[in-house]
């Protein structure tokens, strides 16, 4: 589904990704781990098409197609979803309005039927139950005044509404308490499918207790320096990142 080769990218003239290679197949859950500043979030933003990140080399293929030919919005309509580490507040636009708009933009692009407000209301009620959100959050402005945890739930609600093929979830666990993490984790697990790939970007192993990943990639200095199974995350939990850096001479 996602194939990244020798990807290099910079932001504000600073090279942040220095040759990333990564293969993610449909149905898989991968985790990108790494210390702060290693380039984890950048990788997510580059895949999603953030215009401030300039790709300087390499390629990303998504479902066999060159991803760089698509703007961020076209990538989203093609099924790529980025769950933000810090979701943006948009005053004056209600959550429900925004969710329906996003849903319909994707439906329109993919030849599915658009939903009117009443139909969407039925659709969204099911979804909010899954992420444990109260219905009044639908009438509030998008993310405005939401707590950190509420924003993260809202990201997963958006994912549940849009049902992307590739979901990149950036630091999903930050801002979530244990109970909320369990609920959100179950919601994400419930969306696992053979047609969908999930890329978790996280600093801590604890997220992987709730959403198990089969492949763990450790990012350091803009490169994937180590890849392994779930045991690698446990080792990082126990010993931190320094031993890996020492091992690879980074």
């Amino acid at each position: 589904m996602l194939s990244i080769r020798n990807l290099t990218a910079e932001v504000n003239g600073k090279e942040v990704l220095r040759g990333i290679n990564l293969e993610v197949k449909a149905g898989e859950v991968h985790a990108i781990m790494g210390p702060n500043g290693s380039g984890k979030s950048t990788l997510g933003k580059v895949i999603a098409g953030h215009p401030a990140y300039m790709v300087t080399g390499g390629e990303i293929r998504y479902e066999g197609k060159d991803l760089f030919e698509l703007e961020a919005d076209a990538r989203a309509r093609a099924g790529i979803f980025l769950g933000f580490q810090h979701p943006i507040e948009v005053p004056g636009v209600s959550n429900a309005q925004f969710l329906r708009l996003a849903y319909n933009k994707q439906a329109e692009a993919n030849g599915r039927e658009e939903l009117d407000p009443l139909e969407f209301d039925d659709y969204i009620r099911e979804k909010i139950a899954v992420v444990g959100m109260r219905p009044e959050f639908l009438d509030r402005s998008l993310n405005e005044g939401f707590s950190g945890g509420e924003k993260k739930r809202n990201e997963i609600l958006q994912m549940a509404v849009l049902m992307p093929k590739l979901a990149i979830l950036d630091e999903l666990d930050s801002g979530l308490d244990v109970d909320a993490l369990r609920i959100v984790g179950e919601a994400v697990n419930g969306m696992k499918s053979k047609d969908r790939a999930i890329l978790l970007v996280t600093h801590y192993q604890r997220l992987l207790d709730h959403i198990p990943a089969e492949r763990i990639h450790v990012l350091s200095g803009g490169r994937i320096v180590k890849t392994g199974g779930p045991e690698l995350a446990l080792e990082i939990e126990k010993n931190g990142y320094d031993w890996i850096n020492a091992e690879v001479g980074a």
């Binding site: 703007e71 004056g92 636009v93 996003a102 994707q106 849009l162």
Partner: protein
């Protein structure tokens, strides 16, 4: 352009607009005329008017607008069905007005029929202290509205004052039709009301408004001010309000229309514990100029004020915000917060924002700020990452920026109609359903 050097004597405004016969306000009018004789039409050399081009007022001939017939069905607010005064081209229109649903003792009258207003009129806009336009209004107003909410009466239905300027019957003749609406509002002790003051129009006009508001002890007035005049109109508005002990005055001014609009609201908190808010939204494009010069004056302790002024400026339009907050000696424990936020949508759009705090008390909590900018790239990316193309993301953020200020308008039909107008202006009509 003619040189900007007018005086009252060479200005065509005054003599043409004076009412033909005297009525109840003779001495007040005489005082205003006397003051006007010493005043000049402001020029760009006046610091307070440096961004307003009034050349047209000097050049063009103005005359009172002639009568017209109008269909107001689209402008009726169902919530104010029986609490509405309508003025067409400056004249009270009894046919379209309806005051069948007023609470006991509440007075909602055309000014010409409100003899009891005589003692109050001009008490806040005193001719000796007022500017050219306020005095012009005092000298020349033909009619207006008188609102009196008696002690402890809580008016449930909003009171709607609708001023419409439309093409005159029979074409009207030479010169630009002008109106001078005058409004006097008095809310007695522990009373409360919601007032909607709306200007709408479809033809070029010069509208010069003067409003005086007295909010007595423990009373509350919520005031929505809507300016959606024709694109060629000139709209000038002076407002003075006084808020007594524990009184509350909350106003929101929404300015969409007119090529030049000028708002000068001045609110004085005259008793301890009084509170006021003075919010504004100006949505400008083309060559529109919208100028707000506001004053919030804290004279007594424990008062609070809030001001959020938002401008969305596109094309070559120009927004001006000059917001002064005074905290006088002895106005301890005042809490005053002021914010001006401007969204510039084009490279040639312009804003001059000047928030000012002048504090003579030492135990106060005051903050002010001005933010000017284009749309935030991170916000745009967030929306694009959900599948909205760049134009849709921009339009939705712009809509949200404006719509946010309308969210707390308690009259649903008005809120809806303003949001629809914002949707149309921000090209967001296909992005959000009618709220």
């Amino acid at each position: 352009m003619t040189p900007d050097t007018g005086t009252a004597s060479d200005c065509s405004l005054v003599p043409d607009l004076l009412p033909a016969q005297a009525e109840g306000w003779d001495s007040l009018r005489a005082a205003a005329r006397e003051a006007l004789a010493r005043q000049e039409l402001p020029t760009k050399r006046d610091e307070d008017w440096k961004y307003c081009d009034l050349a047209e007022l000097r050049r063009a001939a103005f005359r009172p607008a002639a009568p017209a017939s109008v269909d107001i069905r689209d402008r009726i607010l169902p919530e104010a069905r029986g609490t509405r005064l309508v003025f067409v081209n400056g004249r009270f229109d009894p046919h379209h007005s309806c005051t069948s649903a007023l609470p006991q003792g509440l007075r909602l009258l055309p000014l010409h029929a409100a003899s009891e207003a005589a003692t109050r009129l001009g008490s806040l806009l005193k001719p000796a202290e007022s500017d050219f336009f306020a005095n012009l209004n005092t000298a020349a107003f033909a009619d207006g509205a008188y609102v009196f909410v008696p002690k402890s009466v809580k008016a449930e239905a909003p009171l709607h004052l609708l001023f419409i300027t439309v093409g005159e019957d029979g074409g009207g003749g030479e010169g630009i039709p002008s109106t001078q609406p005058r409004i006097l509002v008095e809310v007695e002790r522990n009373a409360s009301a919601e007032l909607i003051e709306e200007y709408a129009g479809s033809s070029p006009a010069f509208t010069n408004v003067a409003v005086e508001i007295l909010v007595h002890e423990g009373a509350e007035l919520r005031h929505e001010r809507i300016q959606r005049e024709a694109p060629e109109a000139i709209h000038i508005s002076n407002l003075r309000a006084e808020v007594a002990k524990d009184g509350r005055y909350h106003s929101r001014t929404v300015s969409f229309g007119a090529k030049l609009s000028r708002q000068t609201p001045q609110v004085r908190l005259t008793g301890p514990g009084a509170e006021a808010s003075l919010d504004g939204l100006a949505l400008l494009n083309g060559d529109q100029v919208s100028d707000t010069h506001s004053v919030l004056d804290h004279t007594q302790p424990h008062g609070s004020s809030r001001q959020l002024h938002k401008c969305i400026v596109d094309d070559q339009a120009h927004a001006i915000f000059n917001g002064r907050i005074f905290v006088r000696h002895g106005a301890q424990q005042t809490d005053a917060q002021q914010q001006c936020r401007t969204l510039l949508l084009s490279d040639s759009a312009r804003v001059d924002a000047k928030p000012q705090l002048e504090i003579d008390a030492d135990d106060v909590k005051c903050a002010h700020g001005a933010a000017v900018g284009a749309l935030d790239p991170e916000e745009l990316f967030y929306l694009q990452s959900r599948g909205l193309n760049a134009a849709a993301a921009r339009n939705l953020l712009t809509y949200g920026f404006a719509s946010d200020l309308l969210a707390h308008i308690p009259v649903a039909s008005l809120r809806r109609s303003l949001r629809q107008q914002v949707m149309a202006r921000t090209n967001a009509a296909d992005l959000v359903e009618t709220p």
